[in-house]
């Protein structure tokens, strides 16, 4: 089955300025396969593997040639994404399709091995790769390139980057949220927006699932008319034919809901992507907070050291210091000791000032880069969601047209009774 990309407007081909791609490429996640293997604990497990095919496009005639083809499982996609999150904290990193089926309505399976779920995941993973490939910064990443081209030992390569160590601790990030004194207002607003967006989309998805459930019930019960009309027609003379054929249309009506709701699942998946994007947005904001917090701590530390130095030099004690305390208790220190201490502090202060300069620069560059990507993201979001909403409205209209058709047919059958 060909991959359906109706909701990815940026089915992108790479620009030729990329490091690793000499020509435009096409990426597709074309197949999914059930596999069994042994996991790290040497226990047997079942998982699904996805075939990723990369094609290179001839600029002259647009013909594409298969250049790479390998199998990856979901956990490897996760690894790639976690790596990107760490190395590109200023980028709103595209999300993966959900790990477990959520927002299910009764007919939909919550089982990860269910073929419909696997199919929708396949599409979601392809979408993820295309988003990364079309991003001006992310597409140039070597690990991403290797993900598409290096079948063996890719995991080891990723781990060798040491990204896990670079990752900020969750606790630290949480700390930062509450203690930052001068956050950039724009990031605060953006984080607030991310929170609201996440909340409203998950509410929407929950209710939509319930709506789908109910609609399914309405259509399916009509199927019972088919059976009873058929039975009734058996005892009728003139009415028989009309009833029988009308009953057939009721069966058609009842069956039509399956396709309708399957199409709607794609719409739900588009919403889900942006639900998860909201999380990525918040991640960027958190990074900013962290950096800001770091900066503020460093500045605070520097200021306190400067103060200490000043006090030591002038002999006035304004700030509390352990040294000051102990010298009070255990006797004054010698002028030589004091000199030594001042020297150390002055070195630290000098270092600190350098660091602060660096951090400030880092911070400003981060803000600049992040904000650029956020603007890019906003445009993408507006474009994609607008299209999704319009196609949803079109789906509803198409459903109405089908309904009118079936009932008109049934009405004609009734008129012949």
């Amino acid at each position: 089955m060909s991959s359906c990309l109706k909701y990815v407007s940026c089915r992108q081909h790479m620009t030729t300025e990329g490091n690793f791609w000499s020509k435009k490429i096409e990426i597709s996640v074309s197949e999914a396969e059930k596999r069994t293997g042994r996991n790290a604990m040497n226990m047997q497990e079942t998982y699904t593997a996805y075939l990723i095919e990369t094609r290179s496009v001839e600029p002259s005639d647009g013909q594409s040639v298969l250049t790479d083809s390998l199998w990856r499982r979901y956990s490897e996609f996760e690894l790639l994404r976690n790596y990107l999150l760490v190395f590109y904290p200023h980028i709103v990193v595209p999300p993966l399709p959900e790990k477990r089926a959520e927002f299910v309505w009764h007919k939909l399976s919550a089982d990860n091995m269910d073929p419909d779920f696997v199919e929708r995941r396949r599409i979601g993973l392809e979408n993820f790769l295309l988003r990364v490939a079309s991003h001006s910064v992310l597409s140039e990443d070597k690990i991403f390139y290797l993900f598409l081209t290096q079948e063996n030992n890719w995991k080891e390569t990723v781990n060798e980057t040491g990204f896990q160590l670079k990752a900020d601790s969750r606790l630290k990030a949480l700390n930062a949220t509450f203690r930052v004194k001068n956050p950039d207002k724009r990031f605060t607003e953006l984080k607030h927006y991310g929170d609201e967006l996440q909340s409203v989309i998950s509410h929407l998805l929950r209710v939509r699932a319930r709506v789908a459930d109910r609609l399914y019930g309405v259509y399916k019960v009509h199927g019972n008319y088919g059976r009873v009309f058929s039975e009734w027609s058996a005892i009728e003379k003139e009415m028989g034919d009309g009833l029988q054929s009308a009953g057939h249309h009721m069966d058609v009506y009842a069956a039509s809901i399956d396709d309708i709701l399957e199409e709607e699942e794609h719409y739900a998946d588009q919403l889900k992507e942006y639900l998860f994007y909201a999380e990525a947005l918040r991640a960027v904001c958190r990074k900013h907070e962290l950096m800001q917090y770091d900066l503020e701590m460093a500045a605070q530390d520097l200021a306190s050291k400067k103060q200490q130095c000043e006090e030591l030099a002038t002999g006035t004690v304004r700030t509390f210091s352990l040294k000051g305390m102990t010298s009070k208790l255990f006797g004054q220190e010698t002028p030589e000791q004091r000199e030594a201490r001042i020297k150390v502090l002055e070195e630290q202060i000098s270092e600190g000032e350098e660091q602060l300069k660096c951090k400030n620069l880092e911070g400003r560059e981060f803000v600049k880069a992040a904000w650029a990507d956020i603007e890019r993201f906003k445009e993408q979001k507006n474009h994609d969601l607008k299209e999704a909403l319009i196609s949803y409205a079109v789906m509803q209209i198409s459903m109405c047209k089908k309904g009118i058709q079936v009932w008109t047919n049934a009405k004609e059958c009734f008129s012949k009774m």
Partner: protein
């Protein structure tokens, strides 16, 4: 052949296609104004006795136009029926409508009355027009009277008498309107019936200012005359049921079953639709909330929210219509089938009685071949009953077909209208 004028939609208020002045008198000869069925004047047997008191009440066919008990009356009855079928609505001469429900609050009780309007050119009626008010009790009385006095005919059903208080509001607009439609249909079916429409009680129901006085008089009358038209339900064993009645009985059994199933399905659909509506009502506003967060997306989001709101309104209309217009008619026909089965049983009893009497005679060998008058009367009863019932069943089948054709087309229509309403929504660019 087309559906014909006899069984035209009963839910519409009947209105004469011609003014009363132009309508040909039933006994008049053909005139230039007459169209299609104009030359066919009804049989001269139309002169009906005004009151039942004149008739010998032991005869089953007290209401038939012929007034005699010979088989000839059956054929003239069928004759009339054929004439009836040939007549367009234009030569119908009795129009009845039930409308304008009003609530009456008295010290003892509160109840609803309906205005019953009659327009007719029949000589059985003193005036060409009548307008009186009646309550459900009165309709119920009429139906009982008809069952008593015309036991060989199929009497149309009334809407349910008892309503579970607390579950349904007896005075709600929807309930009253549904009941009004059913009562209107009831009277129209009687008015269209070639025999029942000439019934004395029906006449009084349509015309009397004080129906209660007549009711009391009627009771006194019956007690004077004594044993009236009640049948001996002596549990006679039937030797063989004529095929057509056996078939009708089986048909009615299955028919009522299927209608019951359809009723349950329709109710279930309405229930599912109502639950769907509940969810939609929560769904729509979430899009609006989201729109409040966005700038560029606000318009399309509000658009989707409005679409969903529109869908809610249309869905509410659909479920209301189905509840008010579809379900009651189904139930009416189930009641109809039940009362018809009772009439079939009565017929069986009459035949059984006759067969038993006949057998008794055959055993008494000393009797002459001349059959005693009593047994002859029984035979007449059987034959009249069979003729009346057969004619009524045919009419019923025809009317049923048209009623269901209209009902089911109506259901399809309502669904089409629902989808049309939902579809008619503006898309953002």
């Amino acid at each position: 052949m087309s559906a014909g004028g006899v069984g035209t939609p009963k839910s519409l208020p009947s209105s004469g296609p011609k003014s009363l002045q132009d309508m040909p008198h039933p006994l008049a000869g053909p005139s230039s104004e007459d169209i299609a069925g104009g030359e066919l004047t009804p049989s001269p047997d139309l002169q009906l006795p005004r009151s039942i008191a004149d008739k010998d009440l032991s005869l089953p066919n007290g209401g038939t136009p012929a007034g005699t008990s010979s088989p000839a009356s059956s054929s003239s009855l069928l004759n009339r029926l054929q004439l009836d079928d040939d007549l367009d609505g234009e030569t119908r001469d009795l129009f009845v409508t039930v409308e304008d429900p009003k609530k009456h609050v008295c010290t003892m009780e509160t109840y609803i009355t309906y205005r019953v309007t009659t327009k007719t050119s029949r000589i059985e009626f003193d005036l060409p027009e009548y307008s009186i008010r009646r309550r459900y009790q009165d309709f119920d009385w009429l139906r009982n009277k008809l069952e008593e006095s015309q036991p060989t005919h199929l009497i149309p059903p009334l809407p349910e008498k008892f309503v579970v208080k607390g579950v349904v509001d007896r005075f709600s607009e929807e309930f009253v309107e549904t009941r009004r439609k059913a009562l209107d249909k009831f009277l129209k079916r009687i008015a269209d019936h070639p025999v029942l429409s000439f019934n004395e009680h029906f006449n009084v129901f349509l015309t009397a200012k004080d129906l209660n006085a007549y009711k009391k008089q009627g009771m006194a009358l019956l007690s004077k005359v004594g044993e009236s038209v009640k049948y001996v339900t002596g549990g006679y064993k039937l030797r063989s049921r004529p095929l057509e009645f056996a078939a009708m009985g089986e048909y009615l059994d299955t028919f009522a079953l299927k209608l019951g199933t359809i009723d349950r399905i329709a109710q279930r659909i309405i229930k599912e639709e109502v639950e769907y509506l509940v969810e939609l009502r929560e769904y729509g506003p979430v899009y609006s909330t989201w729109g409040g967060l966005e700038m560029e997306l606000e318009e399309p989001l509000e658009g989707v929210s409005a679409c969903i709101g529109n869908c809610c309104t249309a869905l509410e209309d659909l479920t209301d219509d189905m509840t008010e217009d579809f379900l009651p008619v189904l139930r009416e026909y189930i009641l109809y089938s039940e009362s018809m089965k009772n009439v079939l049983k009565k017929r069986d009893q009459v035949q059984g009685e006759y067969e038993a009497k006949l057998e008794a005679i055959a055993l008494k060998k000393e009797e002459r071949p001349k059959v005693p008058a009593e047994v002859e009367k029984c035979q007449d009863r059987v034959e009249c009953f069979n003729a009346d019932l057969k004619a009524d069943m045919e009419r019923w089948q025809n009317n049923k077909r048209q009623d269901f054709r209209q009902l089911l087309m109506g259901m399809a229509d309502k669904n089409i209208q629902y989808y049309e309403k939902v579809k008619s929504v503006k898309l953002p660019e």
